[in-house]
Symmetry: C2
Subunit: 413 residues, 2 copies
């Protein structure tokens, strides 16, 4: 177990993709709006995305990365436009998965053309609740339509179409990004060769729904929320900070927190004084809350957590039966869970893998021992990098040969 | 496993203690203030408490119950003064541990004299932040001094003195109540014969500290909080509701929530509509938040969770060494943890038991299989009742005889 998240390679490093610039494409307009899963459609839709590496002449080297709840399209390298686009925090560190994407890394940019797009409803350049509603000329706010994981994947497919990319060599992501990977495998079975699902299952648990609900409650009951019409005024930072602090607790494990913070008192603080920050863990959570509100829009938090709530692969593709749903999948799949993850617990990731196995889809399932909880998919970068590299460079197994040869069927496969 | 929490016996039932009335005693005044662990003292201090059963002539049948964070002294029976004291919610159900306290129950009121007192800093009649500060004539608010688990136990000892009770046959409680039991065993070793610690350990984990911190953050950042001076005005209900909703998630287990709510949609709701209540789990949490603010004071929530944070038996009595701390204990101890409790996980309860064993203190440790999480100490009433009954009616073992007879010492005990 090695913590790689904080090991930054500078933009000049041989292993960094260096300075990068996001691009934006209009992928839906009045004549070609984007239909939405829950109903209706939306236009215009602009998508901000980044790419790393070079598209091969055969266009067969494309890897799509799907970002998680608070992630973005800035996966690797250093944002050349950080200042110009008002995202100063990007000057302090490279993209969120820089440990995995770059020359010689698992997603080797000398070999693969890596693409990542900001999700619909987010706040990083792709159309979202802070964008202008063409009907009113003002920001959408809560008039933004409800969007889903399926919509995100449809929009990513439009992006690939626009870039002239017929199919993906691989699609991968962790957490909510992993759910997009599952949806890719289901919605476009012929367009995906390999899928990597990290720390994600086919649907969120009741406990996960509960935490999302409390986080949204904190946002929507902040007096500055004003039914989502807070743009140009004070924003519901207090509520959003509480939501983020709480969510952060679900990203860590009890053991991991005991190891990292224990009951240690913050430097300069004195225990027993009252309600200010005293324990180190309080300081950590406070920082997470404060830094998040600087870079995230409260309305986007509502929409994205709701999309996370709604995603249910079995319901969408198999009338509630996950095995039936997975029958559509044609890709080779790698599923990785982490032992101390309680947001997407190993057992639920295993259930998804089992549904694949029952359809004789080639799947590798690994449960990695880690004390980093859900965050392990980012923190255990060395392990994850090794697994991705191995999976992407191995030819898919001959699924015909792997079929069970027992006469009269087998209860185990 | 039987859920007994919602099985109410009416006040006329043979197994109910019937109608009860709380009593109040002034236990500290200007001439005899209560010294506080962290420093200073407080006066006056009034304590509201309830008793059930009859004190024996020998005064040897007293059982003290210690309540948890949001509990109170109204342990059993029906509050005859519910309306008069402005606590209408007590008209709907009996005391919080009615399943355990009453004629023929584990704390058999035909045999034991059961006492429970509201904690200092709370909001149920015992002096707290909503009480009048004698220095200003106004409610204390955040001028209320910081109080600790140790202070609560000292005040409970004063109550026993006032009632002429020299010692306790038993003291018991769950969660934060269980931590009071541990402190009783340590602070008054000669005054306690039997201790029952349910779903509690000798200190809160980093994760527990984190959840408390986020809950307090939600309260103190509510605009209605006004630095705690909200009495007579709108109170920070929004923040307190968020704190309670989140805390409730820590009282349940993932498995328990999947069984109870799953991803089911609330009757009358339609999925995919937005940010109102759709899933059953959202409805449940919303109810928990709304009902809590009707009956709890936000400042008390701050003080009590902080006391929970601060309690560390090893630090207080053993320079950080729990085995050394526990050497003081003379009582026979029963420790019960619950397999799916992640607020006070079984492993931490076991560690406390091990510290007792290493001191050759007679201890029974049981980890009960349950999917009810931390709440199991209340929900698994039948199991808990049986354990309490057995433990209270069994003579303590001859500790001399149970000493290890191996020559040269034994590495296992």
């Amino acid at each position: 177990m090695t913590r790689n998240r904080d090991r930054h390679e500078g933009p000049e490093s041989r292993r960094s993709v260096g300075w990068v610039k996001a691009q934006t494409l209009r992928l839906a307009d009045a004549t070609n709006p984007l239909p939405l899963e829950i109903g209706g459609s939306i236009a215009p839709v602009d998508v901000e995305y980044e790419t790393y590496g070079t598209l091969s002449p055969a266009k067969d080297n494309v890897v799509l990365v799907c970002h998680a709840l608070s992630g973005d399209a800035h996966v690797a390298g250093w944002d050349a436009d950080a200042e110009a686009t008002g995202r100063p925090w990007r000057q302090r560190k490279p993209g969120w998965w820089d440990a995995v994407v770059g020359p010689g890394k698992a997603l080797d940019t000398r070999r693969y053309f890596v693409v990542c797009a900001n999700v619909l409803g987010g706040c990083y350049g792709t159309t979202g609740p802070s964008s202008t509603n063409p009907d009113t000329g003002r920001p959408y706010g809560l008039d933004f339509p409800m969007v889903t994981v399926a919509d995100w994947v449809q929009l990513q497919a439009r992006l690939l179409d626009a870039l002239g990319i017929p199919s993906l060599y691989a699609v991968l992501g962790g957490s909510l990004g992993g759910q997009q990977v599952i949806e890719w495998a289901l919605a476009f079975p012929e367009r995906v060769r390999k899928c990597i699902v990290l720390a994600a299952s086919a649907r969120l648990s009741a406990q996960g729904l509960g935490f999302n609900a409390v986080g949204r409650h904190a946002v929507t009951h902040d007096p500055d929320f004003r039914d989502g019409n807070y743009y140009g005024q004070s924003s519901p930072d207090g509520g959003l900070a509480v939501a983020r602090m709480m969510a952060h607790l679900t990203y860590l494990s009890g053991k991991g927190m005991d190891d990292k913070f224990g009951r240690r008192i913050q430097d300069g603080a004195q225990a027993g004084r009252g309600f200010n920050i005293e324990f180190q863990v309080e300081s950590y959570l406070d920082y997470q809350g404060r830094s998040f509100v600087e870079r995230f829009d409260a309305n986007s938090y509502l929409y994205i957590t709701r999309a996370m709530d709604y995603y249910d692969a079995a319901l969408r593709w198999g009338d509630g039966d996950l095995v039936k749903a997975c029958a559509r999948i044609r890709a080779q799949v790698l599923v990785v869970s982490f032992s101390s993850d309680w947001l997407y617990p190993p057992e639920e990731c295993r259930q998804f893998s089992m549904a694949l196995m029952r359809n004789r889809i080639p799947v590798n399932y690994l449960n990695i021992r880690s004390d980093y909880g859900h965050d392990a998919f980012l923190v255990e970068a060395e392990t994850v990098e090794r697994l991705i590299k191995g999976f992407l460079t191995t030819a898919p197994p001959d699924t015909t040969a792997s079929r069970c040869a027992r006469k009269g069927g087998c209860t185990q496969c």
